[in-house]
Amino acid sequence: MTEKLVIVGNGMAPGRMLEHLLEKAPGRYEVTIFNAEPRVNYDRIMLSPVLSGEKAYEEIIIHGDGWYIKHGITLYKGHRIVAIDRDAKTVTSDHGVTERYDKLVIATGSVPFILPVPGNDMRGVITYRDLDDVQAMLLAAQSREKAVVIGGGLLGLEAAAGLAGRGMDVTVLHVMPTLMDRQLDPAAGYLLQRELEGRGIKIICKANTRAIVGNGKVEGIALDDGRVIPATLVVMAVGIRPSVSLAKEAGLAVNRGIVVDHGMQTSDGSILALGECAEVGGMVYGLVAPLYEMARVAAAHLAGDRSAAFVHSDTPTKLKVTGIELFSLGDFADGDDREEIVLRDASAGVYKRLVLKDNRIIGTVLYGETADGAWFNDLKKKQTDISEMRETLIFGQAYQGGAPLDPMAAVAALPDDAEICGCNGVCKGKIVSTITEKGLASLDDVRAHTKASASCGSCTGLVEQLMTLTLGDSYNPAAVQPLCGCTDLGHDDVRRLIKAKGLKTIPAVMQELEWKTSCGCAKCRPALNYYLVCDWPDEYADDYQSRFINERVHANIQKDGTYSVVPRMWGGVTNSGELRAIADVVDKFEIPLVKVTGGQRIDLLGIEKEDLPAVWADLGKAGFISGQAYAKGLRTVKTCVGSDWCRFGTQDSTGLGIRIEKFMWGSWTPAKLKMAVSGCPRNCAEATCKDIGVVCVDSGFEIHFAGAAGLDIKGTEVLGLVKTEDEALEHIVALTQMYREQARYLERIYKWAKRIGLDEIRRQIMGDADKRRAFYDRFVFSQKFAQVDPWSERVSGKDKHEFRPMATIGYGEAAE
């Protein structure tokens, strides 16, 4: 008969325990989980990357809903257990669900510590513990106002960096003299403070908070020394306390945490506890590695293996703020019986300190360069006598035994039991043997099978090097296609990091994202220019030298070096005055070819570059502006004559087409954007093979997208049906903006849609009115800067140098 296992809490520790248990004793238990948070098990370590925008919530889910279904586990989301009846062996949730257990696991985690100061319950005071807190911070950050983070430890600094990255003016208050005083010595704390200050974060150490001031809502923080720091958001990150009240009320032995033995057993033989709420050997833990060790032990006991025992080990600490390399391990206080080795490189911002006792490493602080962290950790763990290599120890593993090793050789030289992934306690031998035995070929496979680099991800580089060592050339670490040869990053990473790090110039992108070339190439520069134009419409100064010639001179280059010019004809409608002006221009400049385009306008071909401004001047007098037939941007909106003329027409398709074109002209998009509006399903404007199309019907407007009629031929997909012209415009604009923000440069809308999924697009544009409106508003904002006719600008003299030779040398003009 299966036994009933009930788990209170659904964090990372019980999640890991279940994985082990399902492997060791599948089918032994019928599992029920109560989660006070209304969601599945996600990677809490990665909340900071979510806050900074480097990850999305979906990317940090450990067990999706499908996992629970697949393993027959019942998960109550949003149920907080309020009582344990140990006699009846039942638990009861705040929603009144009662469940019987044979074995109970308490994994209630911890609660953030709230400073006992006046005003700590005001609106605008939050903690940093779960996804709800992150969402509250993201919401507050939209105001771009002032935030104060209380607590200069790991969590507080990650919160501060995230909020600053989101545009808030952030001050960190820390009660001790230097930051992260529990993990860093003062020297490293100072370097960290300088780095954060360089990023615009204000830091006040030795700051004692007296009160939070405000009127129902936070307005600032009063310090003991009388200073008041204004703030609309206060994040308390001053520490955590094991969450023990449930266990205490149930009469279990509780000290700081729920007291358990080395087998995770509480004072009740049917109840285990693990995670941040558990106290083992007098210690409570907050980092993931020991919690995962608890999970392994608990699972073994539940599976009937009584021999498993939890063993304490020091865990290295790392700060998850992009661009800050920091590693701390063990004990690094000064002492008479201790020696230290210190390396400083001020210009490179590097500081390394090893604390030794009896020729053995007992503590390590690395700042600025942390590659040797794993090696020092290994030496410390094994209590290796380092007297032989003392002289060069601080320079790291690469300097031991003669010539410096390259990074690959350094990894190759690591012993099999060297720990690679600190979070999950995975050693080199385990990774290598799993790769070989299971024939793993991708990083994701290795993560799935070994858990290495599956938590905080900071050992990903090491894991990839191991894969290269094991698999040789058959392993291609660049599963993501790099944007070009100048970088290893793909388009998506570059776009994400531009936003996350607030990069607003091409040189800033190249510097911060470590471009391998000095000024890029013809592939990456136009892409970066587009991303920056799209992301910072009001702040970024368009770099014309990074645009392809057609967009630089606003005409289409032809094979003989002449240009073609296509004026805008709104919705394909023209009149005698416009046609006369075109005829006159053709005569005056002896334009060799006049042709009607597929987008319902007129192309003038074979114009010399020097004549372009004069041609535009004449066209401009007749009211023409650039048709942007050269742009990765809005091209034409093709129309049929619609209900005004056509006996089948159901709506004014011409009018809608013109309205859309007048609203959207000038906008830059990842690739060209061609549109059409057909007045009835006979579809004379061929709207169903366009990037975005509208097919009018009696009941309204059917919006289509993701068609293609070029290299690929593809009919459109239906986005949805809307009733009014206004709605049609709003949906089309929102869809365009979503595409603008998410697609890769030169990726047409049909390829983007295929990649991210049609349903996802429908969900965001049709199903989420707030999101749609936000996309729409951002497009409208961006248009304020985009709707300037480039032709009239150049007629007025802009970029004159583009259209004139620098010099003309005839005969007899030598310098002498």
């Binding site: 070339t517 000095s518 000024c519 890029g520 190439c521 013809a522 520069r525 136009p526 014309y544 030298q545 990074s546 645009r547 392809f548 010639i549 057609n550 630089r552 001179v553 280059i557 094979k559 070096g561 140098h801 030779p805 620098m806 010099a807 003309t808 040398i809 005839g810 005969y811 007899g812 003009e813 030598a814 310098a815 002498e816």
Partner: protein, 109 residues
């Protein structure tokens, strides 16, 4: 060899190019991000594209017609492509630029 004045370095945008018309055809004069100046024939060895209209990066230009990358120093096509354009001697005297044309001199006599 005779030197002809063609203007000032400031007439050329950084990471950009201008052309000079000569009886021998167009010459493209480039200015790199590092403020170096190079002159080559404005004629891609591939299909004759106007190199002066390309995107300038490091000491190279990408032709606007079919993306050949041409070295500004040697005039040679970089990467897998083969071909070269003539480089033109250029003198930079505190920003005043001169190019040398040989055949032209003979014609001018």
């Amino acid at each position: 060899m005779t030197w002809f004045p063609i203007g000032n370095i400031a007439d050329i945008p950084l990471r950009g190019a201008r052309c000079v018309k000569t009886p021998e055809g167009k010459i493209a004069v480039f200015r790199t991000a590092e403020n170096e100046v190079f002159a080559i024939e404005d004629h891609c060895p591939h299909k004759g594209g106007p190199l002066s209209q390309g995107i300038v990066h490091a000491k190279a230009v990408t032709c606007p017609l079919h993306n050949w990358v041409i070295s500004l120093e040697t005039g040679k096509a970089l990467g897998a492509d083969e071909g070269a354009v003539r480089t033109i001697p250029l003198r930079n005297e505190d920003g005043a630029l001169f190019i040398a044309l040989e055949r032209l001199m003979a014609a001018a006599e």
